[in-house]
Amino acid sequence: MDEPLKRTPLYAFHVKAGARMVPFGGWEMPVQYTSIIEEHRAVRSSVGLFDVSHMGEFELEGPEALAALQHLTTNDAAALAVDQVQYSLLCTPDGGIVDDLTLSRLGPERFMMTVNAANIDKDWGWVTQRSARFRGARWRNVSADTGLIAVQGPRAEALVSRLAHGDVTTLGYYRFTAATVAGVRAVVSRTGYTGEDGFELYVAAADTTRLWEALLAAGAGDAARPVGLGARDTLRLEMRYALYGNDIDETTNPLEAGLGWVVKPAKGDFIGREAIERVRADGPRRRLVGLEMVDRAIARHGYPVVAAGKAVGVVTSGSYGPSVDRSIAMAYADAGFAAVGTELGVEVRGQARPARVVKTPFHPPRVKRAA
């Protein structure tokens, strides 16, 4: 190990709470406090808190901020209203994915990009270098100064409302607002990675612990609890949300990954547009599908997917899904083997185990749709 692992402001809390800490993308993070399955169920039935302060935030402002973002990202940033968020991608010239991200519009010429923790340095180099010609666009990496707490579950709205000055109940999905929560200034964003209703609260790093403890205390009546990365993974897997590094990376293109919905070629040129349109014209050669294992053996990242003894794909993510009580996975399957209902095998410890392609998400989302 060359560098010591980074720690979020909540590190001391996690250790004191008895969390099992693991390295994740260069950070020392809690994988579980009690049990992954218990924590997962707490989020779906009530409310859980996630420390996601390790994620990165870049601010961009200036008269050319929008133009720079249109050049860098696949989604249409011009369609963003102020106080609105969109999911988007940074792509390479050959259509591979550099990162997935959310983009928030803070003002007519001000934006915030939220990126994956493991890619902060890579993305920072990418966005600054690739938009260098947009002189009227100024970037600021505010990752180290920003804490981020996700509050997720059916009781999340009640909990955040109790502590917020400012109305969060009417905040729509993928919208955000500035509010004071438990006396802490926050950007409250109705976004998340679990498929449940909830919020992500952006605060000054120095305020993270204070807000976290206030949320836990105020949420005691709803059995609010801290939730680790283990349950974060099972929750997002049930929703078929991609995890960078597992399901998407620089060798995968958005169309095969099922992310064509955030690629908007009509908005104008962007890095990777030509390559992606070529894939669109030919049809992707493989597709990211949802698999359900017939028995309970877990299909894990890298396990081969087979049909009649022939390799036709590979598992990218897999686990036991506590809310669906089955072993589930995401996998690339060659075109022709990707239709819902297709029976396939997954090689687990040298033996092909039966699996089938199923509709996703595996579990119904309950995010708050636009009113």
Binding site: G230, R296, Y320, R349
Partner: protein, 130 residues
């Protein structure tokens, strides 16, 4: 502090063994289930299969990891816990009771003496458990 019952013997790989009328009942220890986390799948041999001391007889899967299971004694499998198919969480909840995995009819009485006493197992864990 993990639970290490005094009437059992142990392997370095965190299985426990119990003598029962000449046979040996086997499972994994409290320390093992705690390290693994939520058990979601246990792969066990069929009744009649032969197992060899210190060799893998199956696998226990948790959400995050897969671990081999090692036989404490050589012999023939005479019973397998069918409940673990539907309720793998029994391994976490009751590792020495309802979470048992196999019963072996031992081929070599000498295998029993190779196992760790509770005290030796306790020291083994204290030194890292590897």
């Amino acid at each position: 502090m993990s639970n290490i019952p005094a009437e059992l013997k142990y392997t370095r790989d965190h299985e426990w063994a119990k003598q029962e009328s000449g046979n040996v009942r086997v499972g994994i220890t409290d320390y093992a289930q705690e390290q693994l986390g939520d058990v979601v799948f246990v792969e066990l041999p069929k009744v009649g299969a032969k197992v060899t001391a210190k060799q893998a007889f199956g696998v226990v899967e948790s959400v995050k990891a897969v671990s081999d299971l090692f036989a404490p004694a050589s012999g023939e499998v005479v019973e397998v816990n069918a409940e673990l198919g539907k309720k793998p969480e029994l391994v976490n909840k009751d590792p020495y009771g309802k979470g048992w995995m196999l019963v072996i009819r031992p081929a070599n009485p000498g295998d029993w003496n190779q196992l760790l006493t509770p005290k030796q197992y306790e020291e083994h864990i204290a030194q890292g458990g590897h």
